[in-house]
Amino acid sequence: MSMIRFIFRRILYSVFVLLGLSIVIFIIARIMPGDPARMSVGARAPQWVVDRIREQMHLNEPLVMQYFYWVSDAAQGDFGLSLITQRQVTDDIKEFLPASIELAFYAALIASTLGIGLGILSARYKDTWVDNLGRIISYAGVVTPSYIFAILFILLFGFALKWFPVIGRLSDDVVTPRIITGLVSIDALIQGQFHTFLDSIWHIALPALALAMGSIAQAARITRSSMADNMNKDYIAAARALGIKEREIMGRFLLKPSLIPTISILGLDIASILSVAFLVESIFNWPGLARYGMNAMLYKDLNAISAVILVFGAAFALMNIIVDIIIAQLDPRIRLRSSRSD
């Protein structure tokens, strides 16, 4: 019961955070230079067309009224019309968000597997060449932006070795599976199209790896240092003294508490992958929401900008809640503290 209250309270906080975010974004988007209506129809369109769009978007009304219209529509799931695609922003989000989620999902999978794995190896073989190699990889990953990895991977695996495709979600000659979740690989699996599944994994491998590199490095560093800290604690020494096998100590007693900081960081990293992926999405011509959001900013597509940022904000809030729940499960002290404060 206390856990339900805990989740409920987190959700309530998130609603306030998103409301605040919506005000900030709404104002920032509107003080950017340029008339969005004119931007959407070009310099040569007659003024009456611009005026019609301004009227449709309530741009001639005071900012407070504009915000009121926007919030009341958004509350009903209507984010208005996109000036770039000329469709409902909600439809655009439905189309582009799954591609971003798919990318973030595989990036998260790679980041957590390789990151934590590398961290464990580094901690286990602390101060050996394995640890040193892990540290070099970690530092390189932390200081290099994901788009640099994207370019390097394309040049190496796409251009020079020609092992991986460089654009798109599927090969030209592979039929897109019927949309169920919007995640091509998952849809292909659900429909039993194994070849399509493999093809989609083949396409997502490079962009997901490029996006995951930073998180791999972060996760590896934090897992290593956390495990190294805990390794010197008395209960580990006691476990060793009791003759418990090293593998069991590592897996059962050391890894679980050491994962708490890693999961906190990974959770935020995964949420940020969604929003920071715009360059990687552009390089791989990936039809994701970050790229859509970037184009929206370039064309001052007000409705799209506000909606996309709100979606990213919601993703952050959601990931925070998930991370809190996982940590509460891993660490009974947090659970207890939370139930006491109730």
């Binding site: 950017m32 230079p33 340029g34 008339d35 004119r38 931007m39 129809v41 070009g42 310099a43 040569r44 369109a45 007659p46 009456w48 067309v49 019609r52 449709q56 770039i84 695609t85 000329q86 469709r87 655009d92 189309e95 582009f96 794995g117 190896l121 286990r124 073989y125 101060d127 050996t128 394995v130 394309i154 040049l155 796409g158 251009f159 020609k162 092992w163 460089v166 654009i167 798109g168 979600r169 090969s171 030209d172 000659d173 592979v174 039929v175 070849h195 493999l198 093809d199 994994i201 083949w202 491998a205 390089i283 791989f284 011509n285 039809p287 790229r291 859509y292 184009n295 370039l298 001052k300």
Partner: protein, 567 residues
């Protein structure tokens, strides 16, 4: 050093290798284009839709595919799109009454013939009777009237071009269209190349009742974003927005396809240098976009069987000088700048084949005066002119504020060249990198317009008069196309009068006088006529590279005229 247990290490290595192999697995299975036989017939629709695995097993011959990268977005609604990708798509999906030719004129297309009334105000077009839309509906005059009305009511895309000065468009019978103008204009006939004809029945069927166009609801705007209602040589097969537009050959098209014309055309929405280069290297791209950097083209040219096609364009790189702001409101200061600038150095910074602009408009436009002598660097003359400028003694008080577009990083090279050239005659130039949105905002008002804005401007039609109007007529004040703020009513009248002259020789003579006047007043600095650079695989028969295609934006990519012979 502690002893390392090898087991977990080995296990990790095995896992990584297995993962890697799994990811590589499909490489062996896709239907490769290399299985195509040189003259293989187009595959049937049912084969196209068959899953790739089946196709691979049955050994289906691959199609002829033309893949081109473009800057996105791509708007394929004829009443909305008017940029490069959109124009290139529209002319493949839709037919127009007439078609632009390589000589700058127009040829019959949907209209077999036309007559012009004596007063030059009424045009009567006779339509072909064998044209069908992609759904099989015959194309009639009422569809032309509907397409015009739709374009006019929506008012976006090429509406400003097509509907300007048109009083009425009517259909006296099923195959006759009559268009009446307010006054005769030389721009009308070429502007009709942008009236793309839609299938009224199909558009009505897909119209949403609710929308901003009254009884026409949303005019099927939403549906037409990803579908076509045309009769053109190609039809939409797939259009995942943000990714690519895939079009397939319309085998029932009334026109004639070039030998080896592509079965499928894929316009890809990316201009990322590394992506374009990799696609070209992997032979997954036939023609690149025109937005690659100088260095990127050099790299592309090194790829085997890839050449850089240098195509003429209707674009000039303008240094738009503010004629109303000190010190550039004095003609002598403007002339001093014109003589001080090193045009040869500026041209040398561009791709080989680029030429200095002669006069105030691109040389490729009909009515351009080739006899004009452009400004050349002459520091003595520059100093002479500067001495006559009323600000000569107090230049320090009036620095030249130059804004260049942040999204086009190459522009900084010319800005720095300009700054150093002007320093030689004692003019101080302050360079500012400005995002495009701010540039649009700044040039919208005289008070915020900089001394110089550096912008590429293209003509919408291959006609000198239109470019003169776009660039220097008072009607474009407040748009990014004119930072000069000439506000000269005599010049406006001269441009309008020239455009209303239907006789070519007479009209060109009037254009010539205007061009000379603008050059004499040094209203802008004209750097060079831009050439359109595209990396093209040598297996593509690209008529544009031989100057056999109209320069009108998009027509280089009329796929029915392009041959694809790639293995």
């Amino acid at each position: 050093m502690s002893k390392i247990n090898q087991k977990p290490l080995l296990l990790t290595l095995v896992m990584i290798i297995s993962l890697f192999l799994t990811q590589c697995a499909p490489k062996a299975t896709p239907v490769s284009q290399s299985t195509t036989e040189e003259n293989a017939p187009a595959v049937s629709e049912s084969q196209e839709e068959a899953p790739a695995t089946e196709a691979a097993q049955e050994g289906t011959a691959a199609k002829r595919v033309l893949r081109v990268t473009f800057s996105w977005p791509n708007r394929i609604d004829p009443a909305v799109g008017n940029d490069y990708a959109s124009s290139s798509s529209l002319l493949n999906l839709y037919d127009s009454l007439i078609f632009p030719n390589a000589q700058g004129g127009v040829d019959p297309w949907l209209a077999e013939s036309w007559t012009i009334s004596e007063d030059g105000k009424t045009y009567t077009f006779k339509l072909r009777q064998d044209v069908k839309f992609h759904d099989g509906t015959p194309l009639k005059a009422s569809d032309v009237v509907f397409s015009y009305d739709r374009l006019k009511n929506i008012g976006e895309g090429y509406a400003y071009l097509v509907t300007a000065g048109v009083v009425s468009v009517t259909a006296p019978d099923d195959y006759t269209v009559e268009i009446t103008l307010e006054a005769p204009t030389a721009l009308f006939l070429p502007s009709l190349t942008r009236l793309y004809v839609l299938n009224e029945k199909l558009v009505r069927e897909n119209t949403k009742a609710e929308g901003p166009y009254g009884e026409n609801g949303d005019y099927a705007k939403e549906w037409l974003q990803t579908n076509d209602a045309g009769s053109g040589a190609y039809k939409v097969k797939e259009f995942p927005l943000e990714q690519y537009l895939l079009m397939e050959k319309n085998t029932d098209w009334w026109g004639t396809f070039a030998a080896n014309a592509p079965d499928e055309v894929r316009f890809i929405g990316t201009t990322e240098a590394v992506t374009v280069r990799s696609l070209m290297e992997k032979k997954e791209l036939e023609i690149s976009d025109q937005w690659q950097s100088f260095e990127a083209y050099e790299a592309l040219e090194k790829i085997q069987d890839v050449d850089i096609a240098v195509l003429p364009s209707m674009t000039t790189f303008y240094y738009m000088v503010n004629n109303k702001k000190a010190p550039t409101d004095d003609v002598h200061c403007r002339r001093a700048m014109s003589y001080a600038f090193d045009y040869d150095a500026a041209v040398s910074l561009e791709w080989p084949g680029t030429k200095q602009t002669v006069g105030p408009i691109p040389a490729s436009l009909a009515g351009h005066d080739d006899s004009i002598v452009p400004y050349k660097r002459d520091l003595d003359k520059a100093k002479e002119e500067l001495a006559q400028c009323k600000y000569a003694s107090e230049l320090d008080k009036y620095p030249i504020e130059l804004h260049w577009v942040a999204e086009v990083p190459d522009e900084e090279k010319w800005a720095l060249l300009f700054q150093s050239n002007m320093a030689e005659i004692g003019m101080k130039v302050e360079i500012t990198k400005v995002p495009w949105l701010s540039m649009v905002e700044n040039t919208s008002k005289l008070e915020t317009s900089p001394s110089i804005a550096t912008i590429y401007v293209s003509s919408d039609l291959p006609e000198a008069g239109l470019m003169l109007k776009q660039k220097y007529h008072s009607s474009t004040n407040g748009t990014w196309q004119q930072n000069e703020w000439l506000q000269d009513s005599a010049l406006d009248s001269a441009i309008d009068e020239a455009l209303a002259t239907l006789d070519d020789a007479e009209r060109y003579a009037k254009y010539s006088a205007i061009q000379k006047q603008l050059v004499d007043n040094a209203v802008s600095l004209w750097l060079y006529d831009q050439v359109e650079k595209r990396a093209v695989r040598s297996c593509v028969d690209f008529p544009a590279a031989r100057n056999e295609t109209s320069m009108l934006m998009g027509y280089y990519f009329f796929a029915a005229n392009i041959g694809v012979n790639c293995p």
